[in-house]
Symmetry: C2
Subunit: 287 residues, 2 copies
């Protein structure tokens, strides 16, 4: 297979054009940049996030020595189609996207609901994944994952003006340092001028159902034993969206996982400690 | 205060002479090497360990850019005195040793029971400690800490020939990689020719009582709130001596702690992954 639309090495997070690839009935929107090479790092996005919610501080840091691919899954942003209401459906769509690019294998860096998709992808299509980085996520049937806390739900339902202010309490700790990191993150993700489309209410509803099904308690999770890939699990000390203990559970139950938990941080700890995170990821991928 | 017996920069783990310093009624045995500078890194040893159980792969890696101090606490190895039977007593002795060297502050790298001593030291003498690295340890009243499991106890009671073979099942995972790392560790700690004395049965009994008192369940541990120092918590995925969940608890309850858990590893994960561990420690100390 050949790689379509190989990137210009000079592109960055903010300049890489949005490209499109057909896979079956769907058109996937994606951006691709960095040092060409295999396997590239595929980023899988969180709930309510599109191409513009990835952090350029992380993607550009990785792009200095790796090829980076960001994409909108089916029904998200500029990608077409109806979003599936299961994690399994989202993982199957992700595999179709990867194959449509002509790639045989990717490293995966996935956040939150994206980390659930990544686990499912690694368990069901193991050869498609080389290494896995799971940030702010949890296993099937993890602790307090079937529904968000009332506090967390409120962050997705009360109006923020502008709307992206919602990401500060969702992703960052309440300390002065956490709030400052949140403002810096917003500044970074607002910098790109050529913007992706918002996630629709229909897609958000389907994805919320998918995450809830994944989070139902008392599910078997022997699927984790099939993920023999090297895994780096990362979270903040107090994740208000997917409780931090779920990252510990992932480390304990995956056969080959390393865990990093940062102090004074929340669901987006990797945005808050992006320099340390990028260095740790690169060391993990290069190992 | 002046620093006594400053080391020769050319000394290494295996060549640094054993030195002695008086503090009150006790004589403390210690070794000191590396790049002179403040604060030095003070290593606090595990149960049944003496000066020769520190890992030269770690101490020499740190010594390239830090000053390293290894010591025998009261009643251990070549140090004199009767070992106290509380962690508080061991922490008070540690403080006396540090002050006897004329040091105002140290970074502390502590393992297992040594990590309990380090927590107590940081909580009661906070200005004496700059940063804290806690490996394979747990908080007061942690999970399953009041006594070891029958399996773990057996490792300390069945005869190994030679005796230091006991450290392989205590410190390393049972996998092929873990066992190979254990053999490499034994080779490293056997290399020094000028050996310390074994830990006596009386000292082992006193220290076992101290660790059990620390581990009694249902104790308050608000002392952790007083440890506002930057802390790096490290453990293996399956610590058979102090269950790994206790490292997660430390991260969750300390105000400013980062956690790293390695895959396929046990109580001595830092020995098994000494290169990664030393790099992480140096980054943490330099930060």
């Amino acid at each position: 297979m050949t790689q379509l639309d190989a990137p210009a090495a000079a592109d960055t997070h903010n300049t890489a054009p949005t490209r499109f690839v057909e896979a079956g009935d769907n058109t996937f929107a994606y951006r691709r940049f960095g040092l060409p090479g295999e396997p590239p790092v595929l980023f899988i996005q969180h709930f309510r996030g599109n191409l513009d919610n990835f952090d350029p501080a992380i993607t550009d840091a990785l792009a200095a020595s790796r090829e980076v691919i960001l994409f909108d899954n089916v029904g998200v942003g500029a990608s077409t189609g109806k979003a599936p209401n299961t994690i399994a459906g989202m993982a199957a769509d992700t595999a179709r996207f990867v194959l449509a690019l002509g790639l045989a294998q990717v490293d995966v860096l996935a956040h939150s609901m994206g980390g659930q998709v990544a686990q499912q992808l690694a368990a069901t299509r193991p050869s498609l994944v080389r290494k896995l980085i799971l940030v702010g996520t949890g296993p099937r049937g993890g602790t307090d994952m079937v529904r968000m806390s009332d506090y967390a739900l409120s962050l997705f339902t009360i109006p923020f003006e502008p709307a992206d202010l919602m990401w500060i309490p969702i992703q960052f700790s309440g300390s002065e340092a956490g709030q400052a990191a949140g403002r810096a993150y917003l500044k970074r993700i607002r910098a790109r001028t050529d913007r992706d489309s918002d996630v629709s209410a229909e897609t958000a509803m389907a994805h919320a159902a998918a995450a809830a099904e994944w989070g139902r308690p008392y599910q078997r999770r022997d699927y984790l034993q099939r993920i023999t890939h090297p895994v780096l699990v990362v979270n903040g000390s107090e994740d208000v969206i997917i409780p931090t203990v779920n990252s510990f559970l992932l480390q304990q139950e995956l056969p080959n996982a390393e865990l990093v938990i940062y102090p004074d941080s929340n669901h987006g700890a990797h945005f808050q400690y992006h320099e340390r995170f990028a260095a740790t990821v690169l060391e993990f991928l290069d190992r």
